[in-house]
Symmetry: C2
Subunit: 205 residues, 2 copies
């Protein structure tokens, strides 16, 4: 993708968000911020409603033990309201957002979002919360019912042959430990499915 | 509780629901149905918005393997919209409702609910979906981060000394197997925490 097309695309996504959520009168308040890979986006869940313009994020839950679990992923054009949970009635969460890749994010500050009375906006917010409930239910079903080894196998079932990821990162995706993941990966290597290298996994397709 | 008080209470709960959700013009359509213990409420998720008047329900997820997992519990006065998921935009779930005890449930049919344009109603529905998202996130965190033995121990930490429940029922609460639960309970019996009997568990407080 050349530079100009790349910029057009981000602007198009922003425009689409503004159209869909009826944000024309509030575009002055939308700020765009870049987050490097691995960065946690905000320290509180009061920042604002966000839309991913470039890159990808994950919503994650962190246990007291430090274990992490990916709740759902957010790709380009996806909107997340959890980062403005403070403005949502009945919402009191302990969820973080993290940049999976270097990402550009459009942010509509919670203070502004809270002033919007337009139905288009509120209907879209409701729609997104409904979708999140479904995604979290799906993750819960997977966590409860599907053995970890099977989930790891599915997770690694990607188009590319070489996957740059550490055992720790996979563990943090599933709320598991590095040890448990390493055991599963070694078993997969023994079966000839993959080979393990420092910081990367080669799939034998 | 004597019979008259009991009936007053159910009526009061119904009245409260009608007030809170602005259902005065739709009360003619609300039907009350009794479900015996263990009964699955509806075969589809299109029945209607429900309110528990007496007893208790659980929302559960069922895996292909037949394993079950309780998503959240619904006590007296609690409202559930998952049973009218078909009328909620973006909602496509695979969730069942089951009577934990013999329960009386007020049902506002989906067809009627879909006609309501009043904001009071829609705000309450949104509020409930937000709360469900939080509850499901909590269940997910527990499932991912808390060892099963610890979850079973907490589950049995009830006010009464004698708990009438089977190992199978505990397994169905946690999306686990009877064998895994029996192993944990036997360990707890060995530690002198409980003693196991047919269909019941005695806690040594």
């Amino acid at each position: 993708m050349d530079k100009i097309k790349y910029q057009e695309t981000k602007e198009e996504i922003l425009k689409q968000w503004i159209d869909e959520f009826g944000l024309h009168s509030y575009q002055y308040a939308i700020k765009i911020q870049k987050f490097p890979k691995g960065k946690r986006l905000f320290s509180s869940l009061c920042e604002g409603v966000i839309c991913v313009l470039e890159g990808s994020l994950r919503a994650l839950s962190v246990a007291e033990s430090g274990k992490e679990l990916t709740l759902f992923a957010l790709g380009v054009g996806e909107v997340c309201v959890l980062s403005s949970a403070c403005m949502i009635k009945g919402m009191d969460l302990d969820v973080s957002l993290e940049a999976v890749q270097t990402s550009d994010v459009a942010i509509l500050p919670s203070k502004i979002a809270a002033q919007i009375t337009d139905n288009t906006f509120h209907n879209q917010i409701s729609l997104i919360i409904n979708q999140r409930l479904m995604q979290v239910l799906k993750t819960l079903n997977q966590t409860a019912f599907v053995p970890l080894s099977e989930r790891v196998r599915e997770f690694l079932n990607l188009p590319q042959q070489e996957i740059r990821i550490t055992h720790e990162e996979i563990a943090n995706h599933f709320g598991s430990t590095r040890e448990a993941i390493s055991r599963i990966l070694k078993e997969m290597e023994k079966n000839g499915e993959i080979s393990l290298h420092r910081g990367k996994i080669i799939r034998h397709i």
